[in-house]
Symmetry: C2
Subunit: 204 residues, 2 copies
């Protein structure tokens, strides 16, 4: 095997579009995919596992990490801070592993600036009505929070053109297949392979 | 459904890399894929179906089609002429159907020039030794023809950087999955969807 640099896959979506489920399932399906555990100042939701779903830290711990330049991206979402530790991410890419990141739109823009070769994937619900229904079914937010998430989704959905790929999540199985197809296809891209193979060498 | 323009997928490979089998199987798997039947002056091989595998024509008929500007690309391969009728290809793309073309490297370069948004896919055998073995197993060529095909393959394989995607055909099942992933992923590309959706409209 010729060692190649890993590819960074960044998945963003307005809340309720199904991003978290898709990323979790994709990690189960593609075992060679590395992922990054984000740092957040928000409180754990029921069922979330510390150090696996998120590193939960205090606002002052978060500020200290930022001050030491330890975050590849960070963002404020609904008054909470979220960030991606840079060191494990870059170690995985250098080691030739592809990385799947589940990141909001602000963080995705920072990652694009820092890693121009990253692959940005945007997931949307098939309609705003469907999005509202999913947020209600989740039962983790009150009316005020649901209204805020919907307003934010309406703004965020206009950002789809900044991404490389768009997945309309009508059906989880279909959306999973599209996400997997994007990852598999990018692994065949000549523009990426050409970074690995020396000038006159061919993979034959 | 918003009507979108179809995408042209062009598959090339040195002979023996498995291109014909892959394209045939992909047409069976993805029924919505249109394909083009090439015109050729070469003699039919055993099992080939007239009008389905190729339109078999005389050299003078071929020249007449060329003269009338009826071919989207054409090429000389092993003293035979091959070409793609332009009209059915363009009708399919205008109608929003994706098209899969099985075209040699000379023809692919002409298609790239004529349709810059086409997706070019290059398939190679895992090694020259493997390629030679496959050509022998095919039993359709004599020693001289096999030597000529191998020499040509050695030249052609260096052209992989002109393509968008590279599939190393180690295993037909794996190569099929990669080809299907490329087609599915390209259908999610924002650069293609942005041609379809009006400026401020979002697919939501």
């Amino acid at each position: 095997m010729i060692s190649r640099r890993g590819t960074l896959f960044v998945v963003s979506a307005p809340s309720g579009a199904g991003k978290t489920t898709l990323c979790r399932e994709m990690r189960l399906r593609l075992h060679d995919l590395a992922y990054s555990v984000s740092v957040t100042t928000r409180a754990p939701r029921p069922g979330e596992i510390r150090g696996s779903d998120f590193h939960f830290v205090s606002p002052s711990e978060f500020q200290a990490m930022l001050g030491r330049g330890e975050l590849a991206e960070w963002a404020t979402v609904h008054t909470n801070l979220y960030g991606t530790p840079a060191a494990p991410l870059e170690a995985a890419l250098r080691g030739g592993r592809d990385v799947l990141l589940d990141i909001d739109t602000q963080g995705a823009a920072q990652l694009r600036a820092r890693y121009p070769e990253a692959v940005l994937i945007f997931i949307v619900a098939p309609s705003m009505g469907e999005l509202e229904q999913r947020l209600r079914e989740r039962r983790s937010d009150g009316e005020h929070e649901i209204a805020r998430r919907l307003e934010r989704a309406r703004d965020e959905v206009t950002l789809w053109r900044r991404y490389d790929y768009l997945i309309v999540n009508r059906d989880v199985k279909e959306a999973m297949e599209q996400l997997e197809a994007i990852i598999q296809a990018e692994r065949c891209r000549v523009a990426r392979l050409a970074l690995t193979f020396p000038d006159l060498e061919v993979p034959n």
